[in-house]
């Protein structure tokens, strides 16, 4: 709705005075009060608002924790323990921050799958989608560096494994690795630079979020029909309709969040991170946080180091290319009977990859017998990861462009309000 004109009328004297100098109240009014939203938005659309809340929670708790944390490899572990035991409310703040990261990723994944299902990345929303991808990439970097800060065993070896990925680059890899780590291994210089960047990047994310919302407000929101807004009948003002709906969604989300913080604060963490980092002893099994597991599974699925690293980065890179991979003329998969099944299979694949990432590579998933030592034989986690990784890439590179050309979509409603009225009539019987 780029043609949306401002309906803001400054009332009080101070509003009139400010409006002709810095029309910031007008901007807020036009963006969050009077802004026309499609009237058929469902609850999958509340995750945008939920994500904004997540970012604010992370920044607030993070800034506070930085007041108590010490970024030094000799003191970091103990300073985190001090936050947990001695700092007033320190344990709550840390648990909110740590579980907040999980909640942030949980919400962003739903937000992304929502975009994928309803074709929110298609014209004219390509830039909006790219900005979202950049936010996601920054989130991964921020979460990774934050996870390293407590300087536990899992933190330390997470940093070792991920920085060593750079070493896979031919010829210059090892030099870049030394430069990146600030020494010959992950050590104090690595920790201090990670802390600096972990503090910086959330503000960069906030900046890109502003661009993301700006781009959203230029092209207007997508909606479950995937049909663009055509008239005033298709929309409702943001306030009170979207505000109240998002508010309800946020409250439900915060309840789930609170359940984790108060009743299972360690459920999503790894116990090994309560052992102080020891460069001379590797944990038996190195795993990243749950939200990175699918990519970790793709990394491990490839038997070659460099190829594994390339596969992992391209699995994230492909998301950026999505607007140009989808050839369908119809946005919403509601009207794409074939594609939606491949989409659901894709969701299952991502969850399956996540599960594989948490297992040991040689573990047997489907038991087919026993060898002469009595050990189970059959299809291992590595084989399952390879199959799932193959579908992951196939989905983007082959299925998406090909189905888009071949599929016969269902008839798409002429407008949002027509779809809403039809659904209403159907419900009445």
């Amino acid at each position: 709705m780029s043609e949306h004109t401002s309906n803001y009328v400054p009332k009080s004297g101070i509003e009139k005075w400010l409006d002709s100098r810095l029309p910031i109240v007008r901007l807020a009014y036009d963006s969050f009060v009077d802004y026309p939203t499609p009237k058929n938005l469902n609850y999958w659309w509340t995750f945008g608002g939920i994500l904004s809340v997540c970012l604010v929670i992370q920044i607030v708790t993070g800034v506070i924790m930085a007041m108590h944390y010490t970024a030094n490899s000799a003191l970091a572990f103990d300073s985190v323990e001090r936050i947990m035991r001695d700092v007033p409310y320190g344990d709550i703040l840390r648990y909110v921050h740590a579980n907040g990261a999980s909640m942030f990723f949980f919400a962003v994944y739903i937000h992304m799958f929502r975009g994928l299902y309803y074709g929110s990345y298609k014209a004219p929303r390509e830039v909006l989608w790219l900005l979202g991808c950049i936010i996601y990439f920054l989130m991964i970097a921020t979460a990774f560096m934050g996870y390293v800060l407590p300087w536990g065993q899992m933190s330390y070896y997470g940093a070792v494994v991920i920085t060593n990925l750079i070493g896979a680059i031919p010829v210059v890899g090892p030099s870049i690795l030394t430069w990146l780590q600030g020494g010959f291994a992950v050590d104090n210089p690595t920790l201090t630079r990670f802390f600096s960047l972990h503090y910086l990047l959330p503000f960069v994310i906030a900046g890109v979020v502003v661009l993301h919302i700006w781009a959203l407000h230029v092209v207007g929101q997508n909606n479950p029909t995937g049909v663009e807004i055509k008239s005033k009948e298709d929309t409702l003002p943001f306030t009170p309709y979207a505000t109240v709906k998002d508010g309800f969604g946020i409250v439900i989300f915060l309840i789930l969040f609170a359940v984790f913080v108060f009743f299972a604060p360690e459920a999503l963490g790894h116990t090994d991170n309560y052992i102080q980092a020891n460069p001379l002893q590797t944990p038996a099994h190195i795993v990243p946080e749950w939200y990175m597991l699918p990519f970790y599974a793709i990394l491990r699925a490839v038997p070659d180091k460099l190829a594994g690293v390339i596969a992992m980065f391209s699995s994230i890179g492909l998301i950026f290319a999505l607007p140009w991979l989808d050839t369908s003329k119809v946005k919403s998969m509601r009207y794409r009977p074939v594609m939606r099944w491949f989409f659901f299979l894709f969701v299952v694949t991502c969850i399956g990859l996540g599960w594989c990432g948490a297992q040991e590579p040689a573990d047997v998933v489907f038991r087919m017998g026993t060898d002469n030592l009595g050990q189970a034989t059959g299809i291992s986690v590595t084989v399952v990861s390879r199959l799932l990784a193959a579908y992951y890439f196939l989905f983007f590179i082959f299925i998406m462009p090909w189905i888009g050309l071949k599929e016969e979509p269902l008839p798409v409603p002429a407008s949002i309000s027509e779809a809403v009225l039809a659904a209403h009539a159907k419900k009445k019987g």
């Binding site: 430069w179 010959f184 590797t282 491990r300």
Partner: protein
């Protein structure tokens, strides 16, 4: 704008080139500060007395924040390492290239798996050397990669024998 070269074009090009040069000069300290600092480099070489290691033992010492495996190999292990046909190896190296002549019993390697940097466990795996528990890379008694995803042999650091039992690493 006119296509004739004139004094204004010269000013644009000169200013642009000057700005580009200034940006490059600024990048040197900004990028260079990430390199290992002098105190890190100062600890980059250590001396070690090998008489502390007994036959069949592995000692782990810390060097450049990494574990260094000092391994006193048994004659059987040395023979196993020497008898391997190097054509079958992923990263072909003879055992002689990995130890100092006259000191074949001492194998000194950086204890970091060449896959993703875990610390391999000693005495596990099929080849009598090391097994990395993370992704299953197996190294032999010469620290050479034999199975699993790691692309290279365990790194042999630069070291010299100062006396018969004393080495300087780095």
């Amino acid at each position: 704008m006119s296509t004739d070269p004139n004094r204004r074009d010269f000013i644009y090009i000169a200013a642009g080139a000057g700005a580009a040069g200034a940006v490059v000069m600024t990048l040197f300290p900004l990028i260079g500060q990430m390199n290992p600092a002098a105190d890190t480099l100062a600890l980059a070489s250590i001396e070690y007395d090998l008489s502390k290691v007994t036959e069949g033992q592995q000692v782990v010492i810390k060097w450049r924040s990494k574990p260094l495996f000092v391994r006193y190999r048994t004659p059987k292990e040395i023979k196993e390492a020497q008898d391997v046909d190097i054509k079958t190896l992923r990263d072909p190296q003879t055992d002689a290239q990995r130890v100092k002549a006259g000191h074949e019993q001492y194998l000194i390697v950086v204890g970091v798996c060449t896959h993703l940097g875990c610390v391999p466990n000693f005495g596990l795996g099929e080849y009598g050397g090391w097994l990395c528990p993370c992704h299953g890379s197996v190294y032999d008694t010469s620290g050479r990669i034999r199975q699993g995803p790691a692309p290279l042999n365990l790194l042999v650091p630069d070291y010299t024998f100062l006396t018969d039992t004393k080495i300087k690493v780095g």
